[in-house]
């Protein structure tokens, strides 16, 4: 096993998991809502990009530019007309509703696109690589990682340097008092879920170009996203990146030792982190 190569691949894979998790982390951070359909929404977005690429013969990155505002709209509508009605002191309704949504999405996609596994073609980028010393690194994994860093940078900037971000944090702290400041919590939540879904479209592009997908793989992506968020510490976006990297490295190292261990190694790393750092690596000080 080439350690340097394995670790590098693991870090880059972590970028993908951080992309899966960033939207989940944002939504949970602002409205304490756990969206169990998050993974299926990634798959939905992957089909959306695939359809755009297939029917309009677009470059997948151009298709992403079209898919992001569409997914923003999906998130906005979902939050406004469904999820806002489930929010309240009881945490069970949003869990049940998003679980149901997950089932509906999977079966809806199965009806429309069948169980055949698909892939978004990305042309020469599929196989392009660059050399760093003795290592060969795929261009797509590199793009994935840098997209994850860019998404988190932009999100942090949004949260900590804009008026909208202040409103997000204030609503998360205390929705009633936020109302006294003129903030409409439901509208704020709709924008947040819209942004999360735009990020989901980015995650979907890399999910769909790097490997095959079919309508049923959403829940497994949700688990990876969860593990990344929890290991990083709830509410911290950079923590989510770190959590994703740990998960990615554990999987790649496990897979390098024995391919059967790849998935299991990631889950074991998660359990170990929970055991020794139950609040994750960068827990929010105020909760």
């Amino acid at each position: 096993m080439n350690w340097a190569d394995t670790i590098l691949q693991g870090v880059l894979l972590g970028g993908l998991y951080a992309l899966f998790a960033a939207g989940l982390s944002l939504v949970f951070g602002i409205m304490r809502l756990v969206n169990l359909a998050h993974g299926d929404l990634i798959v939905l977005a992957a089909y959306l990009i695939l359809v755009l690429v297939d029917t309009l013969n677009l470059n997948p990155f151009i298709a992403l530019v079209i898919a992001m505002p569409i997914m923003f709209g999906v998130g906005w509508l979902l939050q406004t007309y469904v999820l806002n009605r489930t929010l309240g002191p009881d945490i069970l309704p949003p869990l049940l509703v998003t679980f149901g949504l997950s089932v509906v999405l999977q079966n809806g996609l199965l009806q429309v696109y069948s169980a055949d596994s698909r892939r978004i073609p990305s042309g020469y980028l599929d196989t392009a690589s660059i050399s760093i010393g003795s290592l060969h690194v795929g261009v797509m994994p590199l793009l994935t990682f840098f997209s994850a860093v860019a998404v988190i940078l932009i999100l942090n900037r949004l949260l900590y340097a804009t008026e909208l971000g202040r409103a997000f944090r204030a609503t998360s702290d205390d929705a009633v008092t936020a109302g006294l400041m003129g903030i409409q919590p439901n509208r704020t939540f709709a924008i947040a879920t819209g942004i999360a879904m735009a990020i989901v479209a980015v995650a979907a592009l890399y999910l769909g170009t790097r490997s095959n997908f079919d309508p049923t793989i959403g829940p497994a992506r949700l688990i990876y996203a969860f593990e990344a968020v929890i290991m990083g510490g709830l509410g911290s976006l950079w923590g989510t990146l770190v959590g994703g990297i740990i998960l990615g490295m554990a999987q790649t190292i496990g897979g390098a030792i024995n391919p059967e261990w790849q998935i299991l190694a990631g889950h074991i790393a998660f359990v170990l982190v929970l055991l020794f750092r139950p609040r994750g690596f960068f827990p929010r000080a105020v909760d």
Partner: protein, 235 residues
């Protein structure tokens, strides 16, 4: 026409009725004090006016316009800002961000801006980058008042400013009120301390068990009458 008035205002927490037909009027430029014991309905009155509690539309009028049924963000946009009981600063936001968020729903230009709020409470400028909740109680109260002022409100509602604060700190906070009045805001303060209330108010309402039991100018009211209205006639 009064700037703000309530007409037979009733308010409920589920089955529990907290206000039984409260009539209060506030004229432009006036400072009102509302006094009463715990549970008299003072905070419920504030929460009703500010839109945290929804009431019958015509039970609350602002410049003759019915606002009783409006939610908090809409009431705030009209220019009625509230300093909530317990200060309620946002712990994730710095002092300066707490002030800035005060004008989120109403960015009207006027006497109040970051600069003038810092001039009113200079200590806040020194601590502008601290988390709001890292400050002392009195400083937090200053942030809460400054936050409400940032929207340049026509009416400033202050709920229990002195709660949990030392007398010397309370004096510092009320020292800011002449400047707030001068800026043109009309003020309603809810206060348990009758002495403090009589000092700053043009008129005073005393509440007990969800009703107004006494009202008038401080000079016209004597302590015994207030005492009776505050605790009930027999005490």
């Amino acid at each position: 026409m009064a700037l703000l008035e309530t007409h037979g205002l009733t308010a409920f927490y589920r089955d529990f009725q907290a206000l039984f037909g409260v009539d209060v009027t506030l004229d432009a430029g006036e400072t009102l004090a509302i006094v009463g014991a715990n549970g008299a309905g003072k905070s419920t009155l504030m929460r009703s006016i500010s839109g945290v509690l929804i009431n019958g539309a015509r039970q609350i009028l602002f410049e003759g316009r019915p606002i009783g049924a409006l939610a908090a963000p809409q009431v705030m946009a009209l220019g009625i800002a509230m300093v909530p009981e317990g200060r309620k600063l946002f712990p994730s936001l710095s002092v300066e961000e707490n002030l800035l968020i005060g004008r989120y729903g109403r960015a009207t230009k006027g006497a109040w801006s970051l600069e003038t709020v810092y001039r009113l409470f200079p200590i806040l400028k020194e601590r502008r980058n601290n988390p709001g909740t890292a400050l002392s109680g009195g400083q937090q109260q200053m942030v809460a008042i400054g936050r409400a002022l940032m929207s340049n409100p026509r009416v400033l509602l202050c709920d229990e400013l002195s709660l949990g604060l030392a007398p010397v700190v309370i004096r510092d906070i009320y020292a800011a009120f002449p400047a707030i009045r001068e800026s043109g805001a009309s003020i309603v303060v809810v206060e348990q301390d009758i002495g403090q209330a009589m000092k700053i108010a043009d008129r005073l309402y005393c509440m007990m068990e969800g009703r107004v039991t006494l009202s008038g100018r401080p000079s016209e009211l004597n302590r015994a009458a207030i005492h009776a209205a505050y605790f009930g006639a027999d005490s």
